[in-house]
Symmetry: C2
Subunit: 231 residues, 2 copies
């Protein structure tokens, strides 16, 4: 008989770092960044703060763990195809993850710039870096090309994610996008001439198409600077 099988059942499932992180992600998904609180977390897990702090050092670490869990999941899918197609797949995977977990964008941007030593940065860097390598970029330029790709992917996906959540729950994403475009068009016509021109462009195009267009622009740069590659 396996150990512990006989013992009276616990009142609840045993607390564990995994269960805590899982609950954190659910809270973040449900109520955004401000929805994750140790108070509601203790309530949700039917425990006290001390128990949680036994498994997790502090809130920052919890956010890192939640971010890492979601990102790892998003990057887990294998893909096969031309390097260009694979870059698209990875980028869209992150795009979708950010879309499904709108709090993720801010966390990624913050963790990337605050603590590149954490688990998240290398994960993304590696996933994109491998494909950049496959494009035929010479080794001394891997970092440059991968950085450009990564910062664009996260920045653009983050900007996009704002559209789906920031406003009231009943507001449609298209509405919000239009609102931003409107705000831009209301700017001073002389001082913000170019921004106004870009506003319509932004709101009239499909999100993912627009997103991929940016990636293709980067890939075109890669192809131009390092010819002989195989995109």
């Amino acid at each position: 008989m396996a150990t512990g099988t006989r013992r009276a059942q616990r009142r609840t499932e045993a607390l564990s770092r995994e269960r805590i992180v899982e609950a954190a992600v659910e809270l973040l998904d449900a109520a955004g960044e401000s929805g994750l609180t140790f108070r509601v977390l203790t309530e949700r897990l039917a425990t006290g703060p001390g128990a949680i702090y036994w498994h997790v050092a502090n809130k920052g670490e919890l956010l890192v763990a939640a971010t890492d869990a979601v990102v790892a999941d998003a990057l887990a899918a294998e893909s096969a195809g031309s390097p260009r197609e694979e870059v698209h797949a990875v980028a869209l995977g992150l795009f979708s993850a950010i879309d499904a977990h709108p709090w993720l964008a801010a966390q990624l941007l913050l963790q990337l710039s605050r603590s590149p030593g954490g688990p998240v940065t290398p994960r993304i860097l590696e996933s994109l870096g491998r494909r950049v390598r496959a494009l035929g970029v010479p080794e001394e330029h891997w970092f440059t090309a991968t950085s450009v790709l990564m910062h664009y992917v996260l920045g653009a996906a983050g900007q996009n994610a704002a559209n789906s959540q920031v406003t009231e729950p009943d507001a449609d994403r298209a509405e919000f996008l239009a609102a931003t475009a409107e705000a831009w068009e209301a700017l001073d016509p002389e001082e913000y001439e170019t921004t106004r021109a870009m506003a319509s462009q932004m709101s009239e195009h499909d999100d993912r198409e627009q997103f991929l267009a940016g990636i293709d622009l980067v890939l075109a740069g890669v192809a131009a600077l390092y010819p002989g590659g195989r995109a």
Copy 2:
């Protein structure tokens, strides 16, 4: 005699939104994001919270105003040269601003993705957009090209800024960079093969050179996709 000249001097300078924002920037510069508190702000300005809230709606608005002030200043410098040189100048202007105000990176990234309707996004978009235009990019692609540029500039500059402040005050930037590189090199050799290879590259190159290399990659993409431009 001008109005008010005769009146007894106030005990202190009159409170104003400008003075508040100015003090906020100073506090942020001195102690980072967590250094800006209404408590220390009231102390610094020798007043109470109510007085500040009369001029500023909430802390978020204050952060937006502080960010906008610094960014406006950074983008104020006019430059003349080839479009490529001008893009470099604008990018380096932002790079330097982020370097001088390390809290700026996180604010920019957050405000960009959270509320693109705010004052900051259009400011940067316009400044870069004008130069993109000058590169000869066709109008329907202004937004794509400018987005890529902007996200890279802010992301890369933000990553760089982390190097100068995150660690203890006596830690050198080179040290921190090396520490990140070290952390990456300590990763699993198989799972993180590419990241490990990029680590040395990152730490061995001059910050600004590396930064501009990324920009040139984007510009190469622009030139490749929209030939006939004048870089």
